[in-house]
Symmetry: C2
Subunit: 188 residues, 2 copies
């Protein structure tokens, strides 16, 4: 980690992900993350409540971005088209520069039950927020919840593909294809 990295938050994140990969999530301490980043533990706690938050602290911004995109979809867009806009907009967070971090993050989470549970809670919270945003567009129940859950299904499967070892396509391309596949599956 060099001085060319001006942003403390991303320096901590890069240092943490290196250490999780080298010595494992459980063994990595905040002190070690700070040392690797060339910063202090005290500074770490200005950005993250604990080491777990290095993996999850972007999720509120992601959720707000998706909810905003859904709310701003054209009034005449169907529930699924509005969701498609939200899923596509999430691509702002998943550009190819972030793929190595996202890959390591997925590996770390898959290996740790507590982290998997936290990830599932975050997805359930995202689903509920998208359903609420659909209701605010006038979509009734159970359609709003069904559409939001189906949207999360696409999101999970597309994200898992995007972080796949040999995957080269962009997140945006994968989401578009996943939505088309879901339409074909459900129609058949």
């Amino acid at each position: 980690m060099g001085r060319w990295e001006p942003d403390a938050e991303s320096r901590f994140r890069a240092a943490a992900i290196e250490l999780f990969g080298e010595i494992g999530y459980e063994q990595t301490t905040v002190a070690a993350i700070a040392e690797r980043a060339g910063l202090t533990a005290r500074t770490f706690f200005r950005y993250f409540a604990d080491k777990r938050e290095v993996l999850f602290n972007g999720s509120e911004r992601l959720q707000q971005t998706m909810v905003d995109a859904l709310a701003q979809a054209p009034a005449e867009a169907s529930a699924v088209d509005a969701l498609a806009a939200a899923l596509t907009k999430a691509g702002d967070f998943f550009d190819d520069d972030r793929r190595p971090f996202a890959r390591m993050r997925s590996t770390v989470i898959a290996a740790n039950t507590d982290l998997r549970e936290r990830e599932l809670i975050k997805l359930a919270t995202l689903s509920a927020a998208l359903a609420q945003a659909l209701r605010e567009r006038g979509v009734g129940e159970p359609d709003a919840s069904l559409a939001a859950e189906a949207g999360i299904a696409v999101f999970r499967v597309a994200f898992a593909q995007w972080v796949g070892e040999s995957e080269r396509r962009s997140y945006g391309e994968i989401v578009k294809e996943s939505l088309a596949r879901l339409r074909a599956l459900v129609a058949s």
Copy 2:
């Protein structure tokens, strides 16, 4: 709880759910459950590893039943039709006699973060098992995962409706309607 209840497991379950409702999940001890059931704590531990398992110990059987129904769907059935067979077969576990228990269970789980996480892990495990069963029918990826996740979306929303306070329709009716609604939403 009277002697007419011959089955220790269901006596424990009924006693637990009464106590969870009366004094709360956290405050309920295994000793209190056993006393209410007119049985011993020692007998309790023959059926359940801990009090949490009173709420979750049916999930393996549910999963196996759904996977079997999916595997036994006609060879020509589409992925979603095979999933529909699995979702419908789950109705064997959700007959109207069990609705009061299921309602209380949902209320208890919603109020407790650990239990919510465990429920989400169970659903993720069920989704993975259904995707595997689809792959064994020759459905490729990502279609198997997408269809399984969409099936879980229907399952969650239908189940939440079935345990709703004023809901009178059977689980089977609700699942059928939810599937039809998902088809309409995704097609539009």
